[in-house]
Symmetry: C2
Subunit: 263 residues, 2 copies
């Protein structure tokens, strides 16, 4: 018989149980297609009950319901929390120059770019994963705001501040979902996998296009010169090498048009 | 020998050629992994050349380059065009009530919700496809603005106005990409597939949460009552039946709290 003290303990045990039997989720899915979209927590409990030859009784069902409610509550809380990203302003202007862009709409723009520019990604890029990465990559700005890419001092403390926000914001979610998003963010920040390289490249191309279209918007405001932009755009060559010639040509066009200072 | 008059004609022929030989793309991918991320247009040309036993010559290479440039130009133009969605205001307020939400950031919010609430989608839902759907579903508002869901008169002409924008905006892209996005949008609007039902359900849940969190924000402004919201939320039962009980309880909570008029 399982001793259950309270819901949190059970949830913890169940996570552990699943980690020890990673194959079970898939086996059940194959055998019974109805399980495909079952809530992972309830699935874990079913596995647990099956393994230990216990009858699912009323109190277990009650606990299951409570756990599902807790899980949904955490998910809804997260959905509400991330609304704050719509108030985090970036330096970048909208293309019509009407106002500064926020990090929520910026992330949306990048996610669509993963679809449209997918063909230029390097071999091994997982486009679905890249899309998820672009969607969540700026959530760490919720507490700390956006750090301007050419702000040397601000960027020194950026990593530490963003790490704290990552722990808090991803921590709102049910444990395994929080971990999934954290892994996505870590991968994006490390810029080692093809998928992360592609996502980072898009994160550089998008503000570049905004600066080009606003005739040097942020560059002019902060007196940015060609070499700074060249350095900033370097990840484009890594993640979308097919677009590197295009970027180089565009940088020169922007210098020639007076949008960007030569040196 | 192929007679090529100008780039547009070639592009048209090439699209036709690919449509007639749908298996070739996959075969080449399997045989030569380097093809996996090649630009589809150049791949088509390679297939064409291979089929007709022609030597790729300098003029063909030049045409290929021009076609790639045209393709990239269309893609960049589209990326710039969709920035306008960030200026399309919805009735919904941000959760901190500071301002109205725009359709770009709203789409971002929905796309993250497809990840977080995936487990509640009905069987047969393709989460990647649902995510793409949420990202592009409001692009048709670029020319026409958002039509408030409870505006009966505005909703009569909505379909026709949005169709015109769809033709214009998706038409900026290379033909097959424009068609892909159009298919996604058509599927979303038809609400027949599990994927579309899930995406539509999220598109209802998100503003509901904003109205709950802003203590009745848009509902109070427009004097909306319980039955209107109940009708508006009906697709939640179709796309995420597991969340329907939660929605029903939440509606009653909002009525009891005075956020929503009972009748």
């Amino acid at each position: 018989m399982i001793q259950i003290n309270h819901v949190e303990t059970l949830q913890c045990n169940v996570s552990l149980h699943l980690a020890q039997k990673p194959g079970l989720l898939r086996i059940l899915n194959r055998q019974n297609p109805n399980f495909t979209f079952i809530n992972p927590v309830s699935l874990c409990l079913l596995i647990m009950v099956q393994d230990m030859n216990l009858q699912a009784n009323r109190s277990l069902q009650y606990l299951l319901l409570k756990m599902q409610q807790t899980r949904l509550k955490q998910q809804i809380e997260f959905i509400i929390e991330i609304d704050k990203l719509k108030n985090v302003l970036r330096q970048t202007l909208l293309i019509d120059s009407s106002r500064r862009e926020n990090s929520g709409e910026h992330s949306w723009h990048l996610a669509i770019m993963t679809m449209i520019l997918a063909e230029y990604a390097i071999k091994g890029t997982d486009i679905f994963r890249a899309m998820k990465m672009t969607l969540i990559h700026d959530l760490v700005e919720i507490d700390t705001g956006d750090t301007f890419c050419y702000d040397v001092k601000g960027n020194e403390s950026k990593a530490e501040r963003e790490l704290q926000t990552a722990n808090r914001v991803f921590g709102i979610l049910p444990e395994e979902q929080g971990k999934e998003l954290r892994l996505l963010w870590d991968e994006f920040e490390a810029r080692e996998t093809p998928t992360a390289k592609f996502a980072v490249a898009l994160d550089r191309i998008q503000p570049f296009l905004h600066n080009r279209e606003t005739e040097g918007g942020t560059w002019k405001m902060h007196d940015i010169h060609r070499n700074q932009v060249m350095k900033r755009m370097a990840p484009v060559e890594q993640g979308t090498p097919e677009l590197w010639d295009f970027m180089l040509a565009e940088i020169e066009t922007c210098v020639a048009a007076g949008y960007l200072r030569k040196s």
